[in-house]
């Protein structure tokens, strides 16, 4: 069954329906919220992973767009540019799934790509701009 990640942007001051509920019930899709930042009166962002039959994807996305949500494919690749990295470790403080970790003994940066949920937190936090996401 195909699985895709979407980057959703919610316009401010827009009452949203319980979208995950509708994706499950009306479109037979299994949504998984990887990250969400939604506050009343502000533009919201959500990183949503959807698993389900291929036919339902387009209908599900059309439903989201009809709700006023901007749907974009989410990043699926992350790169660590070692020449720019200074091994400070600041990215490890914001990586919730512990994809980025500091080796306490050697001070090396350990990166386990498998654990990454492409949340972008490290991209924003890295003072050397040494992490980039791409599609």
């Amino acid at each position: 069954m195909p699985r895709k990640r979407f980057d959703l942007t919610f316009p401010p001051n827009r009452a949203t329906k319980p979208i995950t509920y509708h994706l499950v019930k009306d479109y037979d899709l299994t949504p998984n919220i990887l990250r969400a930042q939604i506050q009343p009166g502000q533009e919201g962002r959500m990183l949503l992973e959807i698993t389900g039959p291929r036919e339902s994807f387009d209908a599900g996305v059309a439903f989201l767009e009809a709700e006023g949500i901007t749907v974009q494919p989410a990043a699926t690749d992350i790169k660590l540019h070692e020449d720019a990295c200074v091994l400070c470790g600041l990215c490890t403080a914001v990586c919730r799934p512990a994809a980025l970790m500091m080796d306490a003994e050697t001070g090396a940066l350990l990166f386990d790509k498998e654990k990454c949920v492409y949340c972008e937190a490290c991209v924003v936090a890295c003072p050397r701009r040494a992490v980039t996401l791409s599609f």
Binding site: V86, L90, A93, V94, M102, G107, P127
Partner: protein, 390 residues
Amino acid sequence: MAKTWDEINARIASGEAVVMTAEEFGSLAADEGLKAAARKVDVVTTGTFGPMCSSGVVLNFGHSDPPIRMGQITLNDVDAYGGLAAVDTYLGVTQPSRTKGIEYGGAHVIEDLLRGRAVRLRAWSAGTDCYPRTEIDTWVTIDDLNQAYFFNPRNAYQNYAVAVNTSDRTIHTYLGTLLPHLGNATFCSAGALSPLLNDPTYRTIGVGSRIFVAGAPGYVAWEGTQHNPNQSRDEHGVPVGPAGTLAVIGDLKQASPEFFSAATFTGYGASAFMGIGVPIPVLDEDIAETLALTDADLTATIVDYGVARRSRPSLGHVTYAQLRSGEIEIDGKRVQTGPISSLSKARRIASELKTWITEQGFTLTQPLQLLPQPGSQSTKPLEIRAEEAN
């Protein structure tokens, strides 16, 4: 067993000096005892590589023909100070670009110069009889400059806070992104390798100490700004929060981009990672005792940056060993930690300095003047007054 500065320098000159990094010295003292370690080792090297916002460079451009008295100056669109003599300037690392904002600041200009890249220099002036030119637009590289040296008002903070955030929103600070509800904790000291934690009462590090500044030989120029020897101290006399600081000078022309890196803290500003290393003579067992302290012995104070006030509440103390483990406990809650200061670069600096001493005859200088000692002064706040005080 006391040794003198002269004895140690004579051993360095003859190539016999025993030099170790602060981490190696800690292990030796644990294995062989403090007395034996103090007898055996002559110099302990320290190092730190973290963001140090109070840093910048003094530059002299030389005179154009006809000459200009530069009043307003930009380098790659970043403003540099125009209040010095005609073609002198000071460029601070945190100054944002006029066009790119904090993504490219003074620090990035300095890194470009260090990497040998040409930088666009523009300057404006009202014009004077002796300096008739009113505008200049040209390119310079580090080799074109007459002088280029760091003059950093505050570096190498002796200990620092552990930053957390108890508020309900993510905040962006100079200590990184702090997640809400104690979502994470960041810390910014090299711990056992940190220069001033190894000489907590400033016995050997003072004005005139020869040190490592971003890969080049430099000096401690003065006490750093906000030098606060009156911080609370533990049983070893080591401060448990931000205390002493150093103002340093170092030659940008001899510095290396390996030990100076421009930085941007999202939502905060531009800054620079500075590499500073200080050699400390093992004069006696007293100094050996603090040189031997490890991350497990050194403590930092947890501070709530979710409270945007001068006095932020403290949430207890942790050791650097706990911080390095990747997780600490605050009020029974497990909190993920992340460093800001690079351990691996700090180690590189301490071992590079060791090479300077053992292979290149880098001798130590006794301070010409001591830094303000514990008990002598503390940092004053800035009060907001309604009118000029008489």
